[in-house]
């Protein structure tokens, strides 16, 4: 019984551990959980001695006007992936059902 769901079980445990670690770290209170990309940019500013604002795009780019818009676009990206995923697994499942019926 446990044998066939071993992988699910391991993944579940890892996920729970991951969440637990997050809760533990965030309970510390001193972390803002900002993006590591921004932390990287800040490190560059530190190393070069120029402030972050002085780095201007080489190629002009669109910047989402707010965090809301940005999260919408990220959600769009993820939901597109989820859509394709569901479609293909559904297609395969359907294929298997029909081929076993005949």
């Amino acid at each position: 019984m446990i044998g066939k769901y071993k992988l699910e079980l391991i993944t579940g445990i890892v996920l729970i551990a991951f969440i637990a670690i997050f809760l533990y770290v965030s309970a510390g209170g001193s972390h803002e959980f900002r993006g590591s990309d921004d932390a990287g940019s800040q490190k560059i500013a530190e190393l070069t001695g120029h402030p972050v604002e002085s780095f201007t795009p080489l190629i002009p780019q669109y910047v989402p006007p707010s965090g809301e818009i940005e999260s919408t676009l990220f959600a769009l990206q993820a939901s597109f992936g989820g859509l394709v995923l569901g479609l293909v697994f559904g297609y395969w499942l359907g294929q298997r059902k029909t081929s076993s019926a005949t």
Binding site: E32, R34, V88
Partner: protein, 240 residues
């Protein structure tokens, strides 16, 4: 792992674009050849691409108190190789550069070299090393994915260290600094990603083993053995 637009001197942008281009060209050629030969692979390519889309949109918190995202390139690397994976990764990076201001067009070369090329190359090396051994195929998937994820961030640290050597200690010192920001954050995320993709791989093995055998991702024996382990799942599904 995105290097933000403007944060890389143009010389380095140029270098990394130059490194990335051959991979993209090979990827397009391979993709065209595959489409012409057999469209049966397209759904699997869809699944692999979908995971890169989903996982690279998820910014997860980590032990270091900052957030980062997994890459999801391991699955595609195993099924379709490095070149096709580089195309899928490039599409995601282009989307993020154009609409999200995550990375930019000038730094996209460097970002492709880390996420769409370097990570997959490392993952592919692990895959080749373990493929024909007795190692459980799900363990292989886990390792390939986790390594592809981690190495992506190591390469980003390296790219930044090359462009911004520290005044004292030079490239090595600044590599350590960037490594601490990017790679350490990534360790727990890589483990989670490895588990999740191994689980997904199990479902592909259950539903569509023939496509994996045809692509020679794993041998028929290995797939058969994995299916036997999961066979109880199949029979219980049939009963319900």
């Amino acid at each position: 792992m995105h290097i933000m637009e403007g944060f890389l001197p143009w010389q380095w942008c140029f270098v990394w674009w130059l490194v990335a281009l051959p991979f993209l060209i090979m990827g397009i050629l391979e993709l065209r050849a595959m489409m012409r030969k057999d469209r049966e692979y397209l759904p699997l390519l869809g699944v692999c691409g979908a995971f890169i889309f989903i996982l690279s949109a998820l910014k997860l918190p980590s032990v270091t108190g900052s957030c980062s995202h997994p890459t999801g390139t391991g699955l595609s690397t195993m099924c379709f190789g490095v070149f096709i994976t580089s195309i899928v990764g490039a599409i995601v990076l282009l989307f993020q550069a154009l609409l999200l201001a995550h990375g930019g067009l000038s730094t996209m070369g460097a970002n492709m070299v880390s996420m769409a090329i370097g990570g997959p190359v490392a993952g592919y090396a692990v895959y080749r090393l373990l493929k024909d051994t007795k190692v459980n195929i799900y363990v292989t998937v886990f390792l390939v994915t986790a390594v592809a994820d981690l190495v992506t961030y190591v390469i980003t640290s390296f790219e930044l260290a090359l462009a911004y050597p520290a005044q004292t200690g030079g490239i090595l010192a600044s590599f350590e600094a960037f490594f601490a920001i990017f790679a350490i954050t990534q360790v727990p995320l890589a483990i989670v990603e490895g588990c999740v993709l191994a689980l997904v791989f199990k479902y592909i093995v259950t539903l569509k083993p023939e496509i994996l055998i045809k692509l020679n991702v794993f041998s028929e024996d290995q797939i058969a053995r994995a299916r036997q382990q999961d066979s109880e799942v199949l029979s219980s599904e049939g009963r319900s």
